[in-house]
Symmetry: C2
Subunit: 479 residues, 2 copies
Amino acid sequence: MTTSTNKAIEGALKFSRLHRKQAVEKLHSFVRFPSVSVQSQHAQDVKNCGGWLAGQLQSIGMPRVFVVPTARHPIIYAERVVSKNAPTILIYGHYDVQPADPESAWTTPPFQPIVRDHYIYGRGASDDKGQLLTHVLALEAYLKTSRKLPVNVKCIFEGEEEIGSPNLEAFITRHRRRLLADAAVMSDTRMLGPDRPALTTSLRGALGFEIEVRGPRQDLHSGNFGGAVHNPLQALCEIIAKLHDENGRVTIPGFYDQVRSWDSDERMRMAKTGPSDSQIMDDGQFKMPWGETGFSLYERTTVRPALTVNGIVGGYQGPGGKAVIPSQAVAKISIRLVPDQNLSSIESSLISLIARLTPPTVRSRVIVLMRSEPASIERGHPTMEAAANAYHAGFGTAPVFVRSGGSIPVVAMFKRILGIPTVLMGFALPDDRIHAPNERFSLHNYFRGIDTNIHFLAEAGRVLRKRRAEKNGTHRKDR
Amino acid sequence: MTTSTNKAIEGALKFSRLHRKQAVEKLHSFVRFPSVSVQSQHAQDVKNCGGWLAGQLQSIGMPRVFVVPTARHPIIYAERVVSKNAPTILIYGHYDVQPADPESAWTTPPFQPIVRDHYIYGRGASDDKGQLLTHVLALEAYLKTSRKLPVNVKCIFEGEEEIGSPNLEAFITRHRRRLLADAAVMSDTRMLGPDRPALTTSLRGALGFEIEVRGPRQDLHSGNFGGAVHNPLQALCEIIAKLHDENGRVTIPGFYDQVRSWDSDERMRMAKTGPSDSQIMDDGQFKMPWGETGFSLYERTTVRPALTVNGIVGGYQGPGGKAVIPSQAVAKISIRLVPDQNLSSIESSLISLIARLTPPTVRSRVIVLMRSEPASIERGHPTMEAAANAYHAGFGTAPVFVRSGGSIPVVAMFKRILGIPTVLMGFALPDDRIHAPNERFSLHNYFRGIDTNIHFLAEAGRVLRKRRAEKNGTHRKDR
């Protein structure tokens, strides 16, 4: 690395160290927006949150910031070009969050962030507001000190990740040329532990849907009608009970047909580098494993598909009892898909299975809520080397490669439309309780994350320039 | 009947006819109280409603009215003694109501009663506020005209019927001597149609409970953990799916062992006088029967027991999806019991079944919410004759005997503690939507109900006096 680059890194790191208090204040402000993308009553909050983020980007010195409206929640786009020929990094993050419910299970209100024991608590603190800000603050550290970034930077911060990014593909397709880059980077994944950074190399896809079962035209008194009519809630349970067999396998016909199988080398590597069964049970605070026999829990949650009931709405939900047969019941379900399952064929197979499992005494329909393709990231890409070096500089230790069971729709889109890999360099911890009550983000990781991103931008510039030079050299030699 | 009795009836009927507007206004005021007994946030509303009712009883001329506090909601007690030796009728009703949810399914707000097409709409309009008031207004009609009632009257109006009358048994036991009567009467049951009055001769019992299934200590991200942990919501569905067999029978061991079987005469009588399958499907607005094979729908809902899932609470309930594995899930279930099932043994058999059906991957427990014994009423009791005559006078046609699938805990209590039968002389219609959104009560039945009760008090006095005279005669002869 050149001396000027080293000086720029030193200056940025120093700035970051001196502005930790402001960094925490910014995260407080960010978390305070209840930017719950799935709930229409929060649409204005999502918009306000995006506006706040755009303001931040402007104030740190990004010259071009756009608030791009979509059919639902705006995309915040910003860019800063160092030179036309410099390597380009596309930074992605999302400023929307999961619903906070059940709110009663929170120790402190989800949208009133608070710092306790070096953690900041609040919905979105970890997923993804805190992690997203590590990138913004890394950019700020450079721009406020050396006034120059080590690479060209383009930022896409969306407000619809938690609802499956329904409007992102159109945006990326429309602005394909403008978005061209060498690689994307995002921080929206987990490390293995406080000092165990991890580069995620695969994500599961997702198919989110509802099964709606309808019975009598209106709710009925269960004393007067109990025993004579098929209760939609009971029928729904009967359908759900048939979606897994006794070996924990999903019963959708053809579900496992295309699932990629891994050779013993890869499975051994996973066993060695990934979390053990007991680690996963500790992280999730459960005492007994469950699921598809013949696979480790790490495999079950990453390279094997799964089907989860996320919620059931039907009948009386209040305290005590109510003598009612509900007229309908709905289950919210999500399937996690892995390479090389075909999303569309799983979807149609699911729809026919539900129709077949529905007895003539009730009616049912499947409503698809979201679709996300599974994704894999090539470990050999130069930006993966840059990320490994950055983690080492930020956390003092080299990262391991891990697979994630989660879904981030944009990763497959970047690959398919822009032809670039996405570096999944996350700073979340396994017990951050993302999507759950009392979500939190370690301030330790927040600060280290900013530093890691400072290193990453410099490292990405270095390795990409080096790779280009090598390629050009090879080229010349070839001639 | 004596001329003075006839004059008293005529006077009361005329008063009732001239005060229909006031009767509707009173029902409006009564329904306006959201006296939802199961929801603690409505405790004060229940209390206010009871206070209003006590005020009504005082204002119509009942000399002794008591608001009796209980562990939860007060009992309103009133009495008027004509003479120590006169026959005594105990009038029962309940001023609490079912929850109004789902409130979004109501055309007009549940606690803002409104009259449309000669029906009054609102929660509790039919169950039981409108029906209860028919008794109060019949008493008023006598007291404001002849200043004398045809019988001694004692009124018990409770605020806990919809939660299984948990404090009523203690009250009846404590005040056993004060409550002594020849029979009880209540209007909290259905007729077969607008011109088809019906005397209910049996009620099912009820056992209300929750099954709570717990898994991981907190909600988990279903991407990160889906496939590795048994989802409590899925486990709950799997348990519920096993509570019925493929013939629609409940699988609790011994569940049907004590169920009273009826001979072909009684079954033919039921087939003849009770609603047909298609009538029940019309009333409930469903197109296909379901349940225990070998029995008519009328039998399934009255002389056969049933198990109904009344609600499930678990996971995400809002719009769209949420990638979560809930840490626990709860089903609210009620069993309807028939003679001669033993409530306690069914309860313990249920608890062991749930324990057996719970896989080692989750934990479960059963929480009993309410218990109510099944009840039968002897058709030959003189007050049943009085009720038949009163219906005939009020509706122009004789009632049929019907069985009900509902549960009214007090009926078995009156029998066991006071040794008296309860005349179930209801004015609800099958499509009153009790316990459901848009509950309503026919004003036609409201007015006819008041008149029927005016006749009933006189008729009850007549038949009970006659029966006593006969008994005394027999007595004398015996000597």
